[in-house]
Structures are given as C-alpha cells and as structure tokens.
Symmetry: C2
Subunit: 150 residues, 2 copies
C-alpha cells in the first residue's frame, strides 16, 4: 500500500469523511451524506477553533480514515489539560491493517505535544471490537459514558 498522510481535514475531504461516518452500524441512522451543507458549516466551526484537530488519513489521494482530537484545559488533576478523541472511522478496505493504530498514535503524540496529561474517549456499549482495540493501545475502561440528546 502507498504512503499514508495524516493531515488537517479540508472542505474537499468532507464528502469522503461523511461517507466514512455513514458507513457504520450506528452512523447509518444519523448521517445525511446527500446533504453536505451542515457538515461544511461544522468544518468552519472546527477550523476557527485552535483546540480542534479534525484529520483525514489519506493514502494515494483517497481519504481512508478520520478522527477528531479536542484539547481541553481544566482545573482538576493539578490543572491538567486533557484531550478527547471523537469520531474514529476507518475505511472498510483498511480495517485490520493497522491504520486505526496509526491514527490513534497520531492523536496520542499530538496530545503529548500539546501538553496533555490524559487522553480520553467514549465508545458505544455495542462496539465491543473497538473496546478491545482501545485496551490493546493502553486505554483503561475506567468510566461510564453518559449522553443526553437535546
């Protein structure tokens, strides 16, 4: 396989990223790949916030993965800054090939460089394969993740 680049997502990457978000048992129900307008608006919000890193993993000109990293300062843990990883998606053709680990390593390295003392994420209770993947990377399933739709 060709070289992999992990780079900030641009408007040109949005159709491919939305396709990745929708190609997922949970995402299929909540994404609308036929109308990219809300996604392009959201990209502008992300790009105007220096604490947001939405990246595209690109191989041979094709977006094959994505994740979003957010840097969050805080008072707890002696004023520790933490990072939160959201929206990890790997193209079906690349699953099991190490791209997920590459993307997560990028997120962990970037978190360290930004001075974070902790990196965290939540994963739907039904994604048991993903849970094993995160534990292999060194994450601990120490918390319950609560959500409420508004």
């Amino acid at each position: 396989m060709g070289d992999l680049e992990i780079q900030p997502a641009t408007a040109d990457d949005v159709p491919a990223i939305v396709a990745l978000l929708a190609d997922d048992p949970l995402g299929a129900q909540r994404e609308s790949p036929d109308d990219l307008t809300p996604y392009l608006t959201a990209l502008e919000r992300l790009r105007s916030d220096p604490h947001q890193h939405l990246v595209a993993a690109v191989r041979e000109g094709r977006v094959v993965g994505t994740l979003q990293l957010t840097i969050i300062p805080g008072l707890s843990r002696r004023g520790a800054t933490r990072s939160v990883i959201e929206g990890v998606r790997i193209h079906a053709d690349e699953r099991g090939g190490g791209l997920g680990s590459r993307l997560m390593e990028w997120a962990i390295d970037t978190s360290r460089r930004e001075g974070c003392h902790l990196v965290q994420l939540t994963s739907d209770n039904t994604r048991t394969d993903a849970h094993r993947f995160y534990e292999r990377l060194g994450f601990t399933a120490s918390h319950v993740g609560f959500k409420m739709a508004l």
Copy 2:
C-alpha cells in the same frame, strides 16, 4: 438557605474550587491544594478559550459547587455541536439538597443556548451514586469511557 448564583469562576474562587476537587475519594489522591500555582495557570488557559465555561456556584459569598462545561463542534451527527461536562463537585454541606441538579440544569440550558444537540460526560465506574443521579436527570449510560494517562 440563601440565594444561589452560578457564575464564571475567578482567581478568587480557585482555593475553594480546589478544596472541592480534593474533598473526594478520587480527588484526594490527585490534587495539591497546598500549591495553587498550577490551578491558577490552568484558569488562565480556561479563560482564554471561549468554548470553556468553568463555573462556581456561590451561596452567601461561599463557593458550594463547581463544574466545567466545554463546547465541542464536530462533523458527526450531521455536523452536531456537543458539550462535555467535567469536574462536577458539590460541597459536603450541600449534598442531597438539589444543588447538583441546579448546576446540571445550568449546564444543559447553556448547552442548548450554545446550539448543542448532545451533552455528554463520563463518571468513574466506582461512583455508583453519581450514575443514578445522571440517569434521573435523563442521561443514558450508553458508552464505555476509556482513559489513558500520558
């Protein structure tokens, strides 16, 4: 009891907020209330980021509760902005008196006002009383929360 005000935390509130963070089975091991320097530095980081809302709940001039709300734009869920709640702490004298609900309602109302479609938080697996509290407020324990110290 006197009136309650929920207001942005200032440097004057930091000693009381750190005392709340430390007066906790988990926080006792990871906070250093005798050295406020890292907390004051972190407060500056929080105040320079318009997506961060660290608040103090004040009654009769005394800080009796705190939480941090972070607004996170994103591409998933049709470009939905979400919020994350961290560091919810209630003074021992006020527990069971409704202050936790008041603070959480403030966070949920603020999230709505900022255009969030989702509000989320993680809670340590050992905080079973807190889990019941969040479920009573309408949160669903749909996710596993993973953390890794860096």
